[in-house]
C-alpha cells in the first residue's frame, strides 16, 4: 500500500480510529484515577488529590469527545448535539489542565496545616471553573476552538517551565521528573499542532493522527510513572 492508499484508509476509518483512541485514553485515565485515589486516601496529600482530579477531568473530556460524540462520527447529528459535546469537552479538558497545574502549585496557595475540605469545590478551584467557563462561552459564541487552544498553549508553557525546574532540582534522585518534563513538552507540541491543524488546515487528518499518537505517548508516560512509582 502506498502513502496515498494509507492516507485514504485512515480517512475512511477516521470514526473507528477516534473511538479506539478515545477508549484507550479513557482506560488509562481510569487506571490513573483509581491508583491516585487510593494513594490520596492513604496519604491525605493534597497534591496527589489534585493530580487525581486532573486525570478524572481528562478522562471525562475524552469520554465526551470520543465516545459520546462518537455517535456523530457515524450518523448525522444536530448542531445542538455538536455544540453541547464540544462545549462539555472543552470545559473538562481545560479544567484537567488547570488541575494538573494546581497539583504542582497547590502549596503556594493552600496551607498544608489546614487542607481544603473539598478539592473539587473550593474558592481557589472556583477561579479555575470561572476561567474555564469564560473560555467555553467565548468559543461557543464565536463557534471556534481558538480560545481553548491559546489558553492551553499558555498553560502548558507554564507547566513545562515548572516541570523543568522540578526536573533540575531533583535530577538523578527522582527519575520520573524527566519523563514528566518530556510529557509536558509533548503536550505543548500537541496543543500547538492541534491549533495549527484546526485553525489553518481544516483538521488535517495527517496532523490529527500525529496528535493522537503524541497524546497516547503522553498518557502512557503518566501511566508508566504512576505504576512505577507505586510498585513495591
Amino acid at each position: 500500500m502506498d502513502l496515498i492508499g494509507f492516507y485514504n484508509l485512515l480517512l475512511d476509518n477516521r470514526g473507528v480510529i477516534k473511538v479506539l483512541y478515545g477508549l484507550l485514553i479513557v482506560a488509562i485515565c481510569l487506571i490513573i484515577v483509581s491508583k491516585t485515589h487510593k494513594l490520596f486516601h492513604l496519604s491525605l496529600h493534597q497534591g496527589i488529590r489534585y493530580l487525581r482530579n486532573a486525570f478524572l477531568f481528562f478522562g471525562i473530556a475524552f469520554f465526551i469527545r470520543y465516545l459520546i460524540a462518537a455517535y456523530g462520527f457515524f450518523y448525522p447529528t444536530s448542531a445542538n448535539f455538536y455544540l453541547l459535546t464540544k462545549s462539555l469537552f472543552e470545559f473538562f479538558i481545560i479544567m484537567g489542565g488547570f488541575f494538573l497545574l494546581y497539583s504542582l502549585l497547590w502549596k503556594k496557595f493552600e496551607s498544608e496545616k489546614n487542607p481544603k475540605y473539598s478539592s473539587l469545590f473550593n474558592f481557589n478551584i472556583l477561579a479555575f471553573y470561572l476561567m474555564a467557563l469564560l473560555i467555553v462561552i467565548g468559543d461557543y459564541l464565536f463557534d471556534t476552538y481558538s480560545l481553548m487552544f491559546f489558553s492551553q498553549i499558555l498553560l502548558f508553557i507554564f507547566i513545562s517551565i515548572i516541570s523543568s525546574i522540578n526536573y533540575r532540582r531533583g535530577e538523578g534522585r527522582h527519575k520520573f521528573l524527566k519523563f514528566y518534563f518530556i510529557a509536558m513538552m509533548l503536550s505543548l507540541a500537541a496543543w500547538i499542532l492541534n491549533a495549527v491543524s484546526a485553525l489553518l488546515l481544516n483538521w488535517d487528518i495527517g496532523i490529527m493522527i500525529n496528535i493522537y499518537i503524541i497524546n497516547m505517548i503522553i498518557f502512557l508516560l503518566f501511566l508508566y510513572g504512576v505504576i512505577k512509582a507505586i510498585k513495591k
Partner: protein, 90 residues
C-alpha cells in the same frame, strides 16, 4: 537550620511514635512530636477523624492513643507515597 517538616512527614513521625509505644498518652506524644500544642491538636483531630489512630481510656481514666490498621498501612506505604510525591513534583 533544619528543614521545615512537611505535613505528610509530620503525620509519619506521629504515627511512628504511636506505633513504637503501642499505646501512648497525649502529653508524651505531644513532646515526642515536636509540635506546638495547637498544631498537635489539629493533627490528632485529623488522624482520629480519618481513623489513622484511635483513643481509649485506661483504668485510671487517662486517654491513650493507639494506631489502627489504616495507620499501619500508611507507615508501610510511606516510602511509596513519598517516592510518588517526589517523582511527580507534587
Amino acid at each position: 537550620m533544619a528543614k521545615k517538616r512537611e505535613r505528610f512527614e509530620v503525620i509519619k513521625d506521629i504515627l511512628q511514635v504511636i506505633r513504637g509505644s503501642r499505646k501512648i498518652k497525649p502529653t508524651r506524644l505531644l513532646y515526642a512530636s515536636n509540635l506546638s500544642p495547637q498544631m498537635f491538636k489539629s493533627y490528632i483531630d485529623e488522624l482520629l477523624e480519618k481513623r489513622f489512630i484511635q483513643s481509649e481510656t485506661d483504668e485510671k481514666g487517662k486517654k491513650l492513643f493507639f494506631i489502627t490498621k489504616k495507620g499501619n498501612d500508611f507507615l508501610e506505604q510511606y516510602q511509596i507515597i513519598d517516592n510518588f510525591i517526589k517523582n511527580f513534583g507534587l
